[in-house]
Symmetry: C3
């Protein structure tokens, strides 16, 4: 199968989305010149070009794209070519109104923006396949073409009639019989029993709470229906260019698609990443998304498809990137396995909905600070990129994450609406990041044997195989740290007897879960050496369990807060960040898992990729990092021995001074 | 007429909703055994069983229910049998889309939850009557049957077409002519005059504020339309079992039904009550709802149809009940007149929308703390219940409350959106509760002669008979304490000349109401000995009025804040809680109304029911209560003389030591 | 052309909306008597009378209005007669459902409120024209008639089908070709290219952000479509009464209508003004709206069509007017050019949606404080009004304001959702008001030569002629003070190269705009002598620019915050109020612009109108104002020399003691 290497050819891709339809062709030549100046070697074309390529049903206008592909090729810029199917032309909605999605209230999402397609509409799929086929046929042999990019940020839900029909078909395939469906959905409650498939609807607006398994299945179905759209287009382009990789870009930690399932169907896993430059936790969020994306890519190189050189335009207040931050975060992505550092978009739009979303070449033009920084980064990547391209990052800690659990747990009618799957992932991953532990993500049914420690921030839903997997992992010597409200439900969102799976309770030393005691916004619990927030639990420990921390005061006074049975830990509250960091560092140490360097200062991130050691400084002052041994710092070309000094947003890429050219393993 | 006594037969009913359709039949036997263990003597069956009983139009499947009724009977558990009409099967909405309600924006409320019925749809009413009839016919003679429960928590609004037609019919009956309607609605304003009945709509989404009398009438109509649904089913079951009482369960202090009118059509008044266990005012809220429900039942015994043994699942954060609280609040209900202490639901669901709503038998199972406490409570009720069942509570203070006034006052375009009818009821009732005064509720047109004191927290709308009633009450020697913004509008929501009815102004010593001065969120007014919030008024006092308190500072400096003319008081602001408590205690004392005991510690509630004195301690420490005389405490069986010690959430049921068996008056 | 003078005939109009349809005719006589007592000389009739005048299609009932017109005339009260077209009768919506507007979600706005008309519906326009024609024909010669009032507060949007058709027609007229439209809208972005006019929709609910130029054009279209409605009715009444002026009442600083364009079509510019009596900035808001309205009226007299004698009823908490405030704010309007001081409404409604909106004659009746104050004000206006009626106010400072810029700038996807056009106008106008500078408003393409100083708080969109106008104004010696994020976009909302127009950058001394740095809610920037909020910018100054203030600390440390190049200033943040006041006062002083008096105490407003000097005291204490020279104070009739003492909410109208009768220039 083709891989990202077929596009990078040993380099780091650098560039971005390029939408030249927005400008007269005289601007194109200027773009090509400036791309060369900035070290751009890859652009993504055609993401929103459907109406330009097919201005009316069946028409084809490829001339402009021919010229553009040639121009890019002439300037040494490779092209990631997109199918334009995320933004159907106005005529499609007008001629085929059923191609427009409806929300759960029954309201139409009209054209005039983007992503206005009903995923299960036959007309949409037919027209999408036709333009994809013609595009693939025309450019399959074009020398500029290096990758296919299907659609864009798949994210449409649909509660309308075509979706209802497809949902029923999906349910029939899943359950076979109505009896099985009624059983899985628990439809006996509130008298929701279905007597005919035609009675089943998407979970539309209702008087009160909806059936949670229906909602869960609708999320599964939606992810699968979008995946069908992707697969149809992927298979078309693959048939024309079996040698070129195919991708579709994820949004970061996006709930709408089952990221494990989707990634398995991509040759290149790519992601769009937009941390808030003003968020002091921006780098941690970046690290999380990068680790997740790399894990979706099987640990191998991945593609940063979109980031912003400056501000975005969809927050309430959109902050620019201070000098140096774009470079720092770009190198962070490379350190964590990216072989492509790309932007939305090359040239900032002057019109349309995103004209205040920054570009590599912003409104300020060539003289602008942003473009000057882009140029410097491009030069660095061109120089150092080939030394790192293709190398792997090895994580010894795994964070378990599963979309099914997210979907089931993030619904109405739970013990606490304050409990948020993504925030739990963030809190635990941040604690590992603060402890300088290199971390990956895994599905709870994955083979976990490669990891020295596995942590479960919060997996409300766990299937039987997943539970067996965790038990076996610990039995074979693994260290497991498990957060609260985990293993509560089975794969149908059916609460397990005892409120938590019995195997897990035994593994973790819990006899009885009497009550969950979620905490209010300003509430906390005293656990002796630390304070917990968000959640607490009224538990009875098993006889062979150790109590690592107890609640003090309040209704839970004296009850266990943190339990440990051998190598399996259970944390029944959310410890304050430093406490969670220390708890996980302690467990890791006992499991023999260590950070890449000892004694790292706060705010300095250290990651090994291949044989290189990356140091990333997320602060604005100066720090000195002790690095035992002799190195060469590749960005400066200078030797480094004993310590490395890092200034504001500083980056160092250290190669051991022995300097033997290493061979990186490919993906 | 049958009464609650026909179900209790001298006991306190203890049990809850039981929805065994959710489990395989092997679980039923376990349930029956555990019910017996827990002292359960009553369950409610069939609340949401329509789709199970009638899986397709006209089909009937009663076998499972036959077996269940027999099983309950065999274990000595009586059955409150519900008509299942609050959750129509999916096929009804599919075959008869007009049975689905529409909201004011015109959006359908689909099936997939519950209560998705358009109250005025002929098809809905026809199918509801048919299943009710067959249910009644089949189980009329079953020995387990002790009561009928119609529908569940009636609460659906409908702005759709069938509702529009029924609304017009209701308006014709109310007004006779369009001239009368146009006059009552003041349709001359904003040119809303109606020239044909067909022009009239429910108050649907509009450009700006709606006609307030149209909105008021729509609320009246909705309550009446739902009542028609109730009456139709009640009459069917009553025809089969004239000896058994009929009820439908109210939600606590629920705006959607005229509780006085509805209660008049019930044999048993029942309510669902879910105070937030974490709310320090939870017990006060409970007392209010209990006093209101008892008053709806004419002062006689009532039924606590639903409470939670632990957390509910519909708040943002759902708190468990700390140890002892379930017992305390259950005895509070009994002290205030309940002859039934029931739960939603017996066994906690493992599936569906309410699987995180607690049950008597929770996910933790038999060993769980909650079930252990349920068992102890069941034993207490079995032992002491017969001693109290059927007895009455006598209230000497009445709080006036009226749904019409709530509906009229709770609309847009009022002096202050911060003024809330239910909050005013709560604030005044809490002040009486803090003053340890036993309180009932009354409609403003009720006979008030039995009360030593009547308080009106806030009745924006008062009819002429109501005003005459108040005037006569004071004239005959009653003490009236009246809150602000009362008597402003007549029965059509027409502002009375002077901004307040002239008879009331005279009664209360007010010459002119110049302006209402509502207060902002953080604003307060200095009234000398106390602080007021929420509201203030610019008044001129009549010559014969006494000024009990004056505003100090601000625009109202020196104007009267509290007026008194003889036994009639007017309070033009909302005094801080302690001040309102003291003001009402002072007025009560002057009216000769006293608490059951003097010198009660804060947090201890004392209520006499029949010849028993209940003491309820809402705090977590220890208190000692002085009780002049000699008693026996029935829960412990111990004698008590001079003082009673109450621990955390402690309860004492005191019987005078003379110990003669009293005969309680029945209802 | 007729003017306001044709209605005032040298007086100040005093009165209000009068909706006697609400009361039986016996009340009318009482009204007439009390109007005379209160000095009322003008009422507005018929604003919402359509259903009364035309109870069914084509019917006419004028008798009641005949009697009313005669009654008013008999009591010396002139009539402003309204076309009733803002509130169609229920039958119109029922018979012609397409006359009902739809919101962007497709939901109908039903009758039952007001303003439920689809502006572009042919049926609505036909019926509106017919009733207007008959009304005009019937009352054209009635001696009471003094002015026409078309519709009321035009404010309806419509996203429905008739609007879509009209929008396409409007776009065809604007752009001629689809190519021109596609170019202006930048539809190449997100593949929104239109291939047929029929594909174009109003900007309805969509999946994500909408096309901003489509949204801008839809706002332009909506203003124009409403203007067509106005013009059609205006032309009908004008044909019958060419000698009488025509108006329609604006809402204050209302976004929905292009106020410059509309005012050009009115004989009298009128406005409704409701500052919050509790808002300490209420008087500043009043001054802004009054200055804007006067400027729309070309600097000549204007009409205060609606204000409230007491509270309104549409705020969350509706505060009465403290004693004296109604008088003060009425005289403020006169000082700033009003020749009419009118209210909504004469007699407070007892029914309907606005029964808690105050009237001149409130619920408290004749004895109420409010009516007593109204009477005193009426007497003052009758006495002093003729001395001021018709006189002009001369402003030496202009604030530039443009609806196009408001519409373009107030959309999603901008650098900061916290940036608000109206708030910026308010902040800058308030600073000028605090500096006691008499201020007008102008469109950026207006002739500015009469102004000594021009300020631009924030004009995101500026056309080429507007930019040339500003450059020419400075070149000819004018002083320009320009706020941030100005001149960013052209007339199609296309971002100008460099992020800000090059001519403006040169004028203001800006070389490069690197980034906009909007600030969060609690964030501020240190600019040395002052603090800035809301916004900051990363700029490089031009070589010939002076830096008046620099940022200190943070990412912008040392960069220019306030630039100045000759007489052109650029302020890249929002200075705290006192700093902005001082900056503008300094610039004004250098431009030779001075307040009417020096040394005015804080809270005292001084305005010259004609040869009179108005002093208005917005505080509650006592102040003394130094007035060099000898005057007569017209309200008291007393002489004033050297100083004038003003009490709580005090007003003085000073005439120079020379006392020659001045002749005011008419409009």
């Amino acid at each position: 199968m083709p891989s990202l290497h077929d596009s990078t050819r040993g380099r780091i891709l650098f560039g971005g989305d390029y939408n030249p339809e927005q400008w007269p062709e005289e601007v194109w030549a200027q773009d090509a010149r400036l791309m060369r100046e900035a070290g751009v070697n890859s652009v993504t074309l055609g993401v929103f070009s459907w109406a330009r390529l097919e201005p009316r049903p069946g028409a084809r206008e490829f001339g402009w794209l021919d010229r553009l592909m040639d121009l890019m090729h002439g300037h040494g810029v490779g092209v990631v070519l997109a199918t334009p199917t995320s933004a159907p032309p106005p005529w499609l909605g007008r001629l085929h109104p059923e191609t427009l999605p409806r929300d759960e209230d029954g309201q139409v999402e009209w054209w005039g923006s983007r992503q206005h397609f009903a995923h299960s509409s036959a007309a949409y799929r037919r027209f999408a396949a036709a333009i994809t086929k013609d595009l693939a046929a025309r450019y399959a042999r074009h020398p500029a073409l290096t990758m296919w990019h299907i659609n864009n940020e798949y994210c449409t839900y649909d509660w309308g009639e075509t979706a209802a029909t497809a949902f029923r078909r999906w349910l029939r395939a899943r359950y076979g019989t109505l009896d099985a469906l009624n059983s899985a959905w628990g439809s006996a409650f509130w008298g929701q029993r279905y007597d005919a498939w035609e009675e089943i609807l998407p979970p539309r607006r209702a008087h009160y709470m909806k059936n949670p398994t229906q909602v869960l299945d609708f999320k599964r179905f939606t992810s699968d229906a979008l995946l069908e759209c992707y697969l149809a287009e992927r298979d078309i382009v693959r048939a024309h260019t079996p040698h070129l990789p195919v991708t579709t870009n994820f949004m970061p930690l996006w709930q709408g698609q089952d990221g494990w399932k989707w990634a398995g169907e991509e040759d290149v896993v790519s992601v769009d990443l937009y941390p808030d430059p003003r968020d002091p936790l921006g780098a941690r969020h970046g690290a999380l998304v990068q680790d997740l994306t790399r894990s979706q890519a099987g640990g191998g190189p991945w593609m940063l498809m979109e980031q912003a050189a400056g501000p975005v335009n969809w927050r309430g207040v959109n902050h620019p990137k201070p000098a140096g931050l774009n470079r720092l975060w770009s190198w962070q992505a490379v350190a964590r396995g990216a072989d492509a550092v790309c932007y939305f978009q090359w040239r900032q739009s002057r019109q349309g909905a995103e004209k205040f979303h920054s570009g590599m070449l912003g409104h300020a033009g060539e003289e602008g600070r942003v473009f000057q920084e882009v140029k410097r980064l491009g030069a660095e990547l061109a120089r150092v990129g080939p030394r790192v391209s293709g190398a792997r990052v090895t994580a010894e800690v795994a964070v378990l994450h599963d979309w099914d659990s997210w979907w089931a747990g993030q619904q109405d009618g739970r013990p606490s609406a304050r409990l948020d799957h993504a925030q739990m992932l963030g809190a635990w991953h941040a604690a590992l990041w603060e402890a300088h532990l290199t971390t990956g993500f895994a599905h709870p049914e994955h083979d976990l044997s490669a990891y020295g420690m596995v942590v479960v921030p919060h997996l409300y839903l766990l299937t039987d195989p997943a539970i067996d997997n965790l038990v076996a992992y610990v039995r074979r010597g693994g260290t497991l740290v498990c957060g609260f409200f985990t293993g509560v439900a089975d794969g149908d969102d059916r609460v397990r007897p005892g409120g938590m799976d019995a195997r897990l309770r035994e593994l973790l030393g819990i006899r009885t879960v009497h009550e969950w005691w979620p905490l209010e916004d300003e509430e906390s619990v005293d656990c002796g050496e630390f304070t917990g927030t968000l959640w607490s639990e009224e538990l009875t420990a098993g006889d062979d369990a150790g109590v690592e921390a107890r609640y003090r005061g309040g209704e839970l006074d004296g009850l266990p807060a943190v339990l440990r049975r051998g190598r399996a830990w259970y944390v029944s509250t959310l410890p304050e960040p430093a406490a969670l960091r220390d708890l996980l560092a302690r467990a890791a140490k006992q499991a023999g898992v260590r950070p890449p360097l000892d004694g790292l200062p706060r705010g300095v991130e250290a990651v090994r990729r291949g044989d290189l050691l990356f140091l990333l400084h997320h602060g604005r002052g100066e720090v000195s990092v002790a690095v035992p041994g002799r190195y060469r710092e590749l960005l400066s070309g200078e030797p480094a021995e004993g310590t490395v000094a890092l200034g504001r947003y500083g980056v160092a890429v250290l190669e051991e001074a022995s300097g033997r050219p290493h061979r990186f393993e490919g993906r």
